[in-house]
Subunit: 506 residues, 2 copies
């Protein structure tokens, strides 16, 4: 059987650009995992790892022109956005190099022998060790920041785990280019290139999650795809952690006072956030609870103006375009739903942004209107008009988990509705925002990009420095002579690590 070709496709025309690779067979996936597995010992050296991540950041920046050109050609995301994404991806690699240098992620604990305890304590020393080969499933919508050189890869390498990336079919050429950058950076610091291996193909992704030497997985994508892989990970003879970011509606609530104070500004801000990247963000605000009265009307007028002014554009691929068109059609046809700006087809290959409105009380009771409480990928949002706080919280109580939840409140004085609404939003999401927009996710230590299912399949974050915690397991040494201990656990702390000794931070 001939190997299945992998084509790079121009989403602006639907035309194939070039054959980039072939899909990996089961044997090739096995080889990829084994060669990555064999690279774990050299990767155990923290200084080399940090140098590798910094070198990768540098090489990625040096290759920016080619990478951005390739990514734009096969994603249509545009050079401006991709330039920012590349800078962010390089900064992310450097941030994880800093994490490796500091070593706090090793979570060193030392408890000296204590015979007065019940039962007595022997000498116990714990740190965290890498889990093994990590499978990374790249996202469609971030060809860099959530793909080959992205956060899952960077955090796994920082933890000391070799990575096998399953490329996203929307950007195979970019993936190949980025993989070569990372592999070159590995070779430059003396690491085996196979600390990162790239595979293509749907079946290859399934083989990968089932491979006995794969120890954990990271995923960013749809609920359907992510859940299928999660189920396979859980069904293995030895199940593995599956950190998947699947889907999110990202509810926004605008209080009466906020709408009265600055409804126009909120409408314009919402338009910017929901159309950013043509609505192809996991943090796109997909449901907005706005007051039913005149203040809400002003918000809607400004939203209408701003969304009408948005240019049509090409989504990441034609399957997404079809799903978007079907999704908005299904939703627009529901009783009580109106479309002040109709989202839909632009030209043959593009889509135009729009939004829908619905009385909030129609969302409180289930039934066909539940479709409005599901994510619709692309430049559309649903504005639910509420007549009372009770109506708003009734809708919130029906939402599944989210990456983000946003509250817009008055700024010129206390907003009486704010505390109760924030309390209703906090259980729904991994990140709550006040008077901001959820798109744009800072790679910061205090970041949390995750949330109750289906936002995430775990309690971990996929963005920010604590993302490294996903790829480690604790290992305790009991009563072990110093000569046999890893240097991280030596009494004198030769590596200068932050640690807890006898329960106290030292």
């Amino acid at each position: 059987m001939a190997a299945a070709p992998v084509w790079s496709v121009d989403p602006r025309t639907g035309n194939p650009r070039e054959q980039v690779a072939v899909e990996a067979t089961a044997e090739e996936v096995d080889r990829a995992v084994r060669s990555a597995h064999a690279a774990r010992d050299p990767l155990a050296d923290r200084a080399v790892r940090a140098a590798f991540l910094r070198g990768a950041a540098g090489l990625l920046a040096d290759s920016a022109e080619h990478v951005i050109e390739a990514a734009d050609a096969e994603t249509a995301l545009g050079p401006a956005r991709l330039t920012g994404e590349l800078a962010r991806t390089a900064a992310q690699l450097r941030a994880f190099a800093d994490v490796v240098d500091e070593g706090a992620f090793l979570d060193v604990h030392i408890d000296h022998e204590d015979p007065t305890r019940t039962p007595p304590w022997p000498d116990l020393r714990r740190y965290k060790v890498p889990l093994g080969v990590v499978a990374v499933y790249a996202a469609s919508n971030f060809p860099l920041a959530f793909s080959v050189p992205g956060g899952d890869t960077a955090s796994a390498l920082a933890a000391g785990c070799p990575v096998v990336v399953k490329a996203h079919p929307d950007h195979p050429a970019t993936s190949e280019l980025c993989a070569s950058v990372l592999r070159r950076a590995a070779a430059r610091v003396g690491l085996p290139e196979d600390v990162l291996v790239l595979v293509h193909g749907f079946e290859a992704g399934i083989e990968l999650i089932k491979h006995p030497l794969v120890a954990a997985a990271g995923f960013t994508g749809s609920v359907r795809g992510g859940r299928a892989l999660y189920d396979l990970a859980a069904a293995r003879p030895a199940p593995i952690p599956f950190h998947g970011e699947l889907g999110s509606l990202n509810p926004v609530v605008v209080t009466e006072a906020a709408a009265a104070e600055r409804g126009e500004r909120i409408g314009a801000g919402l338009a910017g956030s929901m159309t950013m990247g043509l609505g192809q963000f996991c943090t796109k605000p997909g449901l907005v609870l706005a007051p039913a009265g005149e203040t809400g009307d002003r918000l809607l007028e400004s939203l209408t103006d701003a969304v009408s002014d948005t240019e049509a554009g090409a989504l990441l691929d034609h399957r997404m375009r079809d799903a978007f068109l079907a999704g908005v059609r299904e939703r627009a046809e529901l009783p009580g739903v109106r479309a002040p700006v109709t989202p839909g087809a632009g030209g043959d290959h593009t889509v135009a942004a729009g939004f829908l409105t619905v009385p909030a009380h129609l969302l409180a009771d289930g039934g066909p209107h539940d479709a409005l409480l599901e994510e619709c990928f692309g430049p559309v949002t649903v504005v639910a008009r509420y007549a009372s706080g009770t109506e708003a919280t009734a809708v919130l109580s029906r939402l599944p988990g989210n990456l983000t939840a946003t509250l817009h409140i008055a700024t010129d004085g206390p907003d009486a509705d704010a505390p109760a609404l924030l309390s209703a939003l906090a259980p729904l999401a991994g990140r709550v925002l006040v008077n901001g927009w959820p798109t744009g996710v800072a790679v910061a230590p205090a970041q949390h990009h995750g949330g109750p299912y289906p936002a995430s399949t775990s309690t971990s974050t996929s963005v920010g420095t604590t993302a490294v915690e996903r790829w480690l397991r604790p290992l305790t040494y009991q009563s072990t002579p110093e000569a046999l201990l890893p240097p991280e656990l030596h009494e004198g702390n030769p590596l200068g690590l932050p640690r807890r000794v006898d329960g106290r931070r030292a």
Copy 2:
């Protein structure tokens, strides 16, 4: 249909003692979970939680006489062991009260706004919040420390999660008694008693793991039972974290030099560890790699003497006794296996300790001898005699995950075999020990009680203060005015919490 009765049974006679409760119906499980869920707001107060845990420890100690009497009557573990277990369980509750007071588990991170970043950072503040109701599946072999008042319960309550415990059928009376102690302690500090609810019954356990308001689960028990519940947790519409401790062989390797130095002492120590609690410990050493020659013979002689001197006793229940007898029979019949002290039936209700030997090379290739690489619950261990280091590591390479792995080396000088063997053992377990025995698990910050599957279904620990991390999820507040922030995230740190500010520990 009449409610199914739950009987307390005397394992020393097999006779029912008394009817203790009835099995919970699906409706009763639903009520239990809902009432626990309703108790989560009062439990959010950290000072009250700490007082509750300390009060529970005090009440448990005050009730020691009754609790130990009940536990001994239905587990046959004996007053001495149970007195120690109660002290350990009370100490564990107090240790988690200290964890609550310190607040490091909240993992507070604050990143101030920084427009110079790529992309710019807004003000981000993160801490951890309780997941919700935790289902705890009690263990047979620790009626206190891993059951109603045990580590899963204590750590979940410390995290702020109400608990529904599914009692183990081996000690329903003890479970009822301990639940009443904990509920009384809750009431004394003004908490709803339903912060802890007890249910009985196999079907109730299944209903519990499927309940939409159950947010996570802890389990200690068999691979079969644990895996079935893990699978149910993963198959839920919204999957939940399942922290299960399932099974472990706990390999021990004795070097040639260690056997030469103190083979007799190691044999006696092994006998003590493998027969402790009649071999009913998850950390019982179940496979010992000892040298084939004369030094190993001396180890075996002392093991033979010590095990022969061990008194027969009653296992926790008759099902376990049947499984033990069948398990040792099956293993003893394998070609090349000998039984210097035959494990088997004592009297009608008791079992006698013993051990098997086998040439290590028979374990290197799979086939029927693989039965010797599976845990056999009860007072039996397998001593595999190795002729070379290669033979020993070949056996180790075939082992699944373990809670512990132990190495015995010479103490009177460097042991040339030690480094390579320790490197072979570390990937196999969550805790490695040198010159000690794995039974006895200190409740210490540096403890790790977990390990690669099937030792654990997750990377977390079920013993030690970091066990609290299992029941929390991060929540980030972005650009939120201080008046709306929880006090844990206020700029001035009014609660005096350990935290990271702008990436630095403060």
